[in-house]
Amino acid sequence: MSEITRLDEEGEAFLTKVEILSGQKLTLCEQCGICSTSCPMVEEMDITPAAIIRAVQIGDRSVTESKAIWVCASCFSCTVRCPRGIDLAKVTEALRQFTLRRDVNYIDLREAQGEEYPTIALVSAARKFTG
């Protein structure tokens, strides 16, 4: 566990991209962790919401491959609690785009054939999980 993360321009560029796409100033996050314990999905996540922001702050692009950003249910509990006024839901949405906009879907809707879903479920899943 003595891997060194270099704080370099590539990381800086990643942070800038996420900030532009989400419209949030991520350097405002002081890592208090309120978002994490407000998140109803946190137990299903591999990294906590606060850790997601920290990863972006230090330019760690691997956060786009985390499970956590897909577990997010866009419930906005974090958004209404953040003491710095950061809208985290917008940040996870931005991070999902790094996959979706490369034409890679998170779910295959063909898997959803087995059940009769209400339209709202299919449409929202399609919007969030496919490009």
């Binding site: 999905m41 917008k90 929202s124």
Partner: protein
Amino acid sequence: MLKFPYYPGCTLKQKARNFEVSALAAARYLGIELVEIPRWNCCGAVYSLTTDNVMRQVGPIRNLIRVQQLNDSGELPERRLVTLCSMCFNVLKRANLMVRSDPEALRLVNQFMDTEPDYRGEVEVVHFLEILRDVLGFEKVSAGVARPLEGLRVSAYYGCTLLRPREVGIDDPEAPRVMEDLIAALGAEPVDNPNKSLCCGSYHTVGRNVEIVAKRAYRILQGARDRGADLVITSCPLCSFNLEARQDLARKLYPDFRPMPVLYFTQLLALAFGLEEEAGLEENLVDPRPLLRDKLGVAV
């Protein structure tokens, strides 16, 4: 007779017909006519959260243009568009706020929809609960009660999109009370539930992560059960589906789980107004009728 333009959304015409049927009946009873707007389209279910999301507002805004057209033609001058589904409410209201605060975005959206008249930003998006609370007042609702729901202990489940984020919400996300006040106005006993706005899991119900939803359904319903609730009311067809359809899976994960009926708040209204024939109760996935016969003596 109050008349409002009304946006049903896709699911209310498909899996959640009971929501619409009971709502229209209850509204009519209260002297409110909900006029379905013509040629509406799917709202998109979720609000697109990235900063470059201007094109995703086209769908929601087109529905607001329909209202604007009704206003301009004089057919229905009311500017407030009423929604029933919380998610539709959230998307439409957020899209509206966005283009109203960003003139460039409004211009782009209008330009893209070149066959539609330009949206001017004058429509207001409201939820039916706001009409009951702010326009009619719960006193009038109470006055209309034909069958007080005494003895029925009801827990409100708000979900996420009715209350958050703050600029959209119809009540304080940390301490909402509109549904509890409505329950009390109908003569039933409101039961508090600390998980009343805990996310049900939303779209995770599709696909392989469905357990996420089952776990939360358990927490929400058990939270209500532990405090003595007989049933739970919601305002969203996705919350409703998640809380009903995932009860079997919840039972598998948590053996102590017992089934709990889930009603739309408008079905509760219909019951209180003696309109049980139009409450659509036969369509609820967890049959509430035995409980209602037992507790209220209703012939359903």
